[in-house]
């Protein structure tokens, strides 16, 4: 079983490309995969409208599960939507500081995290740049929720290793892993239990992300963990 934690659908404003829900579903169907996903409307335009669209379009889907988002630049507008996310059906909430141009130590984001602490929901953060994960680890220290960080490749893996060794609730997502060696390297220093599979599909290549996992020298059990079981264990739900 494969569960992709990093997918999206909707309209992509930066260039002409098909990122429709139908395309995503076709990719998932081809690979017999499931996914956590969200509407791009919530990232680029308005979080509440996007979250409602995500719930509405995915309500009858059996293989695509909704993820919420919030843009701290709009704080406190729409903050009430974040209460009861799990009961609304969301399996996680994703943040996009790099894309939206805010920093991890942005005060509104700290307030949002305090609200989310009561929700016990995975917090997915798409970021990159040296020092960002270090800041996240400081914030995550006082919060029990798991943090899933997306945005690691060869250039900032050192930071992931250093932080994961100290913070048990920090996980990393795999879509920027440029090589199977990355997984073998992480295994040596942090183990593989806190790595979860993500692809960035349909914007990015699902085959690329999967190929990096499959071509590694990890055991089948470790690969199965990364491709889905680690996530299931984290959220306590069998997908």
């Amino acid at each position: 079983m494969i569960v992709d934690i990093n997918t999206c659908f909707g309209f992509y404003p930066y260039r002409k490309v098909d990122v429709s829900l139908e395309t995503l579903k076709n990719i998932l169907k081809f690979h017999r995969a499931k996914a956590l996903s969200l509407s791009l409307k919530g990232i680029f335009y308005d979080a509440t409208e996007g979250n409602e669209e995500t719930l509405n379009l995915l309500k009858d889907e059996t293989d695509v599960y909704p993820v919420a988002t919030y843009d701290p630049r709009a704080y406190p507008k729409g903050i009430e939507f974040l209460e009861g996310l799990r009961s609304k059906g969301f399996l996680g909430i994703a943040f996009f500081p790099r894309l939206q141009g805010w920093l991890i130590d942005f005060a509104p984001f700290r307030d949002v995290l305090e609200i989310l602490e009561k929700e016990n929901i995975p917090i997915i953060i798409h970021t990159s740049g040296y020092g960002e994960l270090t800041k996240i680890s400081s914030l995550a220290g006082g919060i029990k929720s798991p943090f899933i960080i997306s945005g690691f490749n060869y250039s900032n893996l050192s930071e992931a290793i250093a932080v994961m060794k100290k913070s048990e609730n920090i996980y990393i997502e795999s879509h920027l892993f440029n090589s199977p060696d990355t997984l073998e390297y992480l295994k040596k220093y942090t183990g593989t239990d806190r790595i979860v599979f993500g692809s960035g599909a349909p914007l990015l290549s699902f085959e690329t992300a999967l190929s990096v996992i499959e071509k590694s020298y990890l055991s089948d059990e470790e690969k199965e963990g990364i491709l889905g079981r680690n996530l299931e264990r984290m959220i306590g739900v069998k997908l």
Binding site: S158, N178, Y185, G200, L204, S205, E207, K215
Partner: protein, 245 residues
């Protein structure tokens, strides 16, 4: 079967193992890479002559290994001497320029002097291109030297779609797709914009693994015939000096 036109030999200042000869060979075996063209990471980020010297020794370790000499236009005379030193080495097929690391842009008079000096040599240029500005520079240089073949590394990076349009009119510019972001439509759009015969397979190995870029090709909806041109046929032709594979 694969020919990889964008590989590196040497260490990187990142959390990753340094690849020795045996490990590189193992990777080439694993992905059926029949030829790989390397440049020295040491030469790119530090001392180009010391790095090139390491590279030339390394190239002798396997018949699949070929190389680009890295030049640093800050050292114009030394760069020209460097090419003269290795020009007869059959393992050297081209020159690698990395304007971001050397901080000398592609249209700088020193870079142009190097290109002019070796314009009759049949050397291929792999140039790190990141962004519209660098792609425009490459386009102007390619127009100035229509008989020299240039590879636009990374297809221009994060704005590859704009860079494709910029280099489209220049048949002596080839593209290769490697990047940390595996855009699903990058290879397909490259073919649609510059033509199938100008798209090569390059990975940035050992920074980026063949598995990563193969995934980009495989998710592009290409026919097996189209893929064969990307994976090796176009590179065979390029290495033969433009003659058919």
């Amino acid at each position: 079967m694969i020919i990889d036109v964008h590989c590196h030999y040497g260490a990187w200042p990142f959390a990753m193992d340094n690849f020795g000869v045996d490990r590189i060979k193992e990777y080439l075996d694993r992905f059926d890479v029949i030829k790989a063209i390397f440049s020295s990471s040491k030469a790119i980020v530090y001392d180009f002559r010391e790095g090139n010297r390491d590279l030339v020794e390394f190239l002798e370790k396997d018949e699949r290994f070929y190389g680009y000499l890295v030049l640093n236009p800050n050292y114009l005379e030394e760069s020209i001497e460097e090419v003269d030193r290795y020009l007869d080495n059959e393992k050297i097929v081209g020159i690698k320029l990395h304007p971001a690391y050397s901080r000398v842009n592609l249209e700088d008079k020193r870079t142009i002097k190097i290109i002019e000096h070796f314009s009759k040599s049949n050397l291929i240029y792999l140039i790190h291109i990141w962004g519209v500005s660098m792609a425009n520079q490459l386009a102007r240089v390619a127009r100035q030297f229509p008989d020299i073949r240039f590879i636009m590394g990374h297809t221009g990076g994060d704005v590859w779609f704009d860079c494709l349009d910029i280099v489209k009119p220049y048949p002596n510019i080839y593209v290769e797709p490697c990047s940390s972001y595996a855009d699903r439509d990058k290879v397909r759009m490259s073919i649609d914009t510059v033509g199938l015969d100008r798209v090569l397979f390059g990975t940035d190995f050992t920074l980026i693994n063949p598995a990563f870029v193969i995934g980009m090709v495989e998710s592009s909806g290409l026919t097996e015939e189209e893929k064969s041109y990307i994976y090796y046929k176009n590179s065979i032709k390029l290495l033969k000096g433009g003659k058919d594979a």
